[in-house]
């Protein structure tokens, strides 16, 4: 077990190193010249551009640039945004609460919808209830998220007028308005995870319900709801944990589209704008941060899976 942990940790370190290299290389090939941006615009003299290049360390060989960049990152220095001259960390800190709030609500929505639907579909397998559940799940996966968002806006705000179409209200300016604004982004972002939780739970519930210990529980007179909730569901949820772990990483990617569709001032929108404006430091920091978080979540998922399921521990 310790061997597995150590090996998994080492793997993660290697992956993280490659993640930083890829991010670095990716930003090297982004169009636009940061030295030119620093020196002013097109009109700057050659000397001025050269001075800026030297100033930014862009005249040094790539490995040296990489080492310097990595060193700065490790000490938490992500540089200044080339566009607004604000420290990158500050830009992210301002926007993080918005993104986190959407993520948290999306996961809550996914579980609140996915778990009951999964259980019900398994209990009523191959009936119209099950079919309806499958159709909901397939829709969640197959429909592009931005399109789901648009349809929600069309129905819930344009036609029914129940919810604000877009924008973000900070909780300090009204908790209710803030929550109302979260409904559609959370549903849109969470639908894919809800669908996957549902499908996974349906199949693992079906498998567990056929096991002998469930029969035994029934035979010794445990009530039906007790059998389902205490004996079957608890075991059926194990594979669902992995799904959630894997998908949280994917959710973070989906946030870009969601924040653009619902005009929410979060990290996704910041990244989108920075990519369009060639704001290297912001893109670099953002992409790196997200990839690191995803890698760590994968590690945590693997390790927690090992603790939940003893069969893996002893394998």
């Amino acid at each position: 077990m310790t061997g597995f942990l150590v090996r998994r940790l080492l793997q993660t370190l290697v992956t993280l190193f490659m993640v930083t290299v890829i991010t670095f290389v990716l930003c090297q090939v982004l169009p636009g010249d940061p030295a030119l941006a620093r020196a002013g615009s097109e009109g700057a003299s050659k000397e001025l551009i050269e001075a800026a290049r030297k100033d930014l360390g862009l005249d040094q060989p790539l490995p040296v640039q990489y080492a310097k960049w990595m060193g700065a990152m490790l000490t938490g220095d992500f540089g200044l945004s080339t566009r607004s001259r604000v420290p990158v960390t500050e830009l992210f800190a301002q926007r993080l609460p918005v993104t986190l709030e959407v993520l948290v609500f999306a996961v809550i929505y996914a579980l609140a919808l996915g778990i009951p639907l999964g259980v019900i579909s398994a209990l009523y397998a191959n009936t119209w209830i099950d079919t309806t559940g499958t159709v909901i799940a397939v829709t969640g996966v197959a429909m592009p998220q931005y399109f789901q968002g648009m349809l929600l806006i069309l129905v819930l705000s344009v036609w029914l007028g129940w919810l604000p179409a877009s924008g973000y209200v900070p909780p300090s300016q009204g908790l209710w308005a803030n929550l109302l604004g979260m409904v559609m982004p959370a549903i849109t972002l969470g639908s894919v995870v809800a669908a996957e939780v549902m499908r996974q739970l349906r199949s693992s519930m079906l498998e567990v319900l056929g096991e002998e210990y469930v029969q035994t529980a029934r035979a010794k007179g445990v009530s039906e709801s007790g059998v389902i909730l205490r004996h079957a569901l608890r075991n059926a949820l194990i594979p669902v944990v992995t799904i959630i772990g894997m998908r949280i990483g994917r959710l973070i990617g989906g946030i870009v589209v969601i924040e653009v569709v619902f005009s929410m001032p979060g990290i996704g929108q910041l990244l989108m704008n920075s990519v369009l404006n060639n704001d290297f430091p912001v893109v670099q920091a953002g992409v790196l941060m997200v990839a690191v978080v995803v890698t760590l979540i994968n590690l945590v998922t693997d390790v927690s899976y090992m603790f939940i399921d003893p069969r893996i521990r002893h394998a």
């Binding site: 090939v29 829709t139 399109f147 199949s203 992409v287």
Partner: protein, 278 residues
Amino acid sequence: MTAGAKSRRRIRPSLWLSVAVLAVLASFAVLNTAVAPYDALDIAFTPLEAPSLKHPFGIDHLGRDVFSRFVGGTRISFIIGLASSFFAAAIGSAIGLLAAYFVPLRAFLMRLMDAIWAFPTILLAMALAVSLQPGIVTVIIAVVVVYVPLFARLVYAQAIALLERDYILAARAFGCRPLRLLLTHVLPNLAAPVIVQATLTLGSSIVLESSLSFLGIGIQPPTPSWGVMIQSGYKWLETAAWISVLPGLGIYVTVISFSVLGDYLRIRLDPRQLSGKA
């Protein structure tokens, strides 16, 4: 398990429907201008006119026939879907095979795949799409890079197990060269899961293309891509919903059809080897 038999029975009507839908869309993609009643770029009609017999999908905000643009978008979607899942499958399988066979390369290749997989699809595709000239080729490259790790991991996991089999050991003992071994003994046994995954990836790459185009960094207007159409109709949702809702439904139906087809192939070609991960 009986689930395989059950879904095989259940899948039939939806399978035929999906095949029919894909056949119609594929004919749109191939015949393109022969099917489209008007020029997809021609600003010739009254803007925002509702769907009618003459214009089944209505007119967009600039006065273009939405059905003709829809047909053009089908072509873009199919080109990008087919090309990117083909290249992702080919490159990913090659990497997976190499990593499985050549032990010294293994750690490097598979950790590299992990690293690429750690970047959220949209973010990675965004960064790639912006670094190159916008257009079809760029979108294909971005989608391929994003999905290569999927195939590499799939092929790697299966190939590792295959390489332990007796018949492979026998082939090796007879002095079979690595390339021949991989291509004639290992690869054919992996074809089924790769084909299934490629069919499912077809749908995902069409969604990814449309998302990039929707964000303005994929296919550039006025070229009719479904993502571009949805984006351009976004502002007119209230008064002329057909401009974006119809191409959106197009994507939805296409992706579902590919996934039904993929699920069918999964059961048909290979009931045991594939796990549930898409």
